[in-house]
Subunit: 281 residues, 2 copies
């Protein structure tokens, strides 16, 4: 897990503009004094976020702190390659070709591809939200989400982030992260989203120990007061926890405890598959 | 459909190294005489492909026709941002952060997000391959694929491409592409993958007319001799065909005709949803 090995700080630096939780604000990213052209190009891409997926040229210029002329030149080059596209109103958005190249990331779609059959099984027995996530610094990054039509509303989206301590997948991942990364996380501020969020370092430390002891976690109304998630860690061929999957249900509708066997079975099934295919993802 | 409007040629230029069918060979892409730094950065990303997702520094230097020192500097900048990552063997691969930014592409995950409930329904009634694709120049680009465990082997992958004329989704999309794009396609070489592939311009013209008349297409053993697909077009709020979805089954196992109502119903369901949500994807 590259990103946890080098710790939250590095990951936060790398995270780009579209990260909630401990992330930087849009436009505040990557402005070293003497910027290389490469860093300028990347800062244009970082200007886009889940909250602001479409930007005008002046938005981009402002968010990247670049003169309009410079931004215009870079945006044109990125657009002709397909990294950016213009929508009907002339605003810029991330282009299909960048999505296509990003789809080659083994830790993204590669892992998701391997997980899909197990996620499908979980979905068919629950018809709720089924999620696959990895830890990237202080956040969980959602690689996949399959959702039932009338499943409870959730904040996660594929490609979206959320602070690890407040989610089931996050707790499952954090519990198995390198000690240094865990300590760094515990030392940092812990945002509370509901009065149920584990926002106290000592409680979080206990929660992580519980996850390691039981092999699963029930995250109870930590993000919203109507949703509870059941999550379990996924191990790769080196027996390292590289991902976590979860089912999110509406409070009171399903007994979370009843979902544990299914979630743990799916997580183990995927871990077995990864063990038998060490070259992937 | 930006990419068909400017025709296959433009899309091929933009397509990057990882495109089969009429695409360029890896490494042969984007080498204008006076290259800007931006084009160099993008050519590094284009060096990666579905066939070669992991590259050494010298691979990258060779494929981008850049001196090792230049390639090294760019690769380092891309790695520190998260566009590239190093695997256990020290080779480079597309990084999770680039996947994350690519996930913001409305024509990629945006459309896929909207389509997922309809794809799920199709999957649950068929347990075969269920695919969502868009037309990008001369290729179909697969945005999503849900696969049953023992479904017939297929060549498609999420983020992968295939020549439009040889696939169900491709025929459904090509049939509704702008006339100029269709003529350009019919004028180009038509690769044959089996003796069933529609590799003759006149037959292809008839096939496209059939698709427009019936509103669906059965692509019979065009890619491999054991697979047949049933596809239907998906329309956006402007009633433009922007995507197609299909079910791929093993020949002889399921009567393709029996799948038509389900496929057409799912495609129309998604089209209705898109019409009622003009702002998305």
């Amino acid at each position: 897990m590259t990103t946890t090995d080098d710790g939250p700080a590095a990951a936060t630096r790398r995270r780009g503009a579209h990260a909630p939780g401990r992330a930087q604000q849009p436009g505040s990213v990557r402005r070293p004094a003497g910027r290389s052209v490469t860093s300028r190009v990347l800062s244009v891409l970082s200007a886009f976020s889940g909250e602001c997926p479409r930007l005008s040229l002046s938005d981009i210029s402002r968010r990247t702190a670049m003169p309009l002329t410079t931004a215009h030149r870079l945006v044109n080059e990125l657009t002709s390659w397909g990294a950016l596209e213009r929508d009907r109103d002339g605003r810029y958005q991330i282009g299909l070709h960048l999505w296509e190249v990003g789809a080659l990331a083994p830790r993204g779609l590669g892992l998701r591809e391997a997980a899909m059959p197990y996620l499908e099984d979980l979905y068919e027995v629950t018809h709720q939200h089924v999620q696959l996530a990895v830890l990237d610094g202080a956040d969980v990054l959602y690689l996949e989400r399959i959702s039932g039509r009338d499943a409870v509303a959730v904040h996660s989206r594929v490609g979206g982030r959320f602070p690890a301590h407040a989610t089931g997948v996050g707790l499952a991942l954090l519990a198995h992260a390198p000690a240094a990364a865990q300590e760094a996380y515990l030392a940092g501020p812990l945002a509370a989203f509901t009065d149920r969020t584990i926002a106290d370092p000592w409680r979080l430390r206990c929660a992580l120990a519980e996850v390691r002891r039981h092999g699963y976690v029930i995250s109870d109304r930590q993000v919203t007061l109507d949703a509870v998630s059941v999550a379990a860690p996924v191990r790769d061929a080196e027996d390292e926890v590289i991902a976590a999957l979860s089912v999110v249900v509406r409070v009171g509708e399903t007994q979370p405890g009843a979902l544990v066997p299914a979630v743990v079975t799916a997580a183990r099934g995927l871990s077995h598959w990864l063990r038998s295919h060490p070259e992937r993802p």
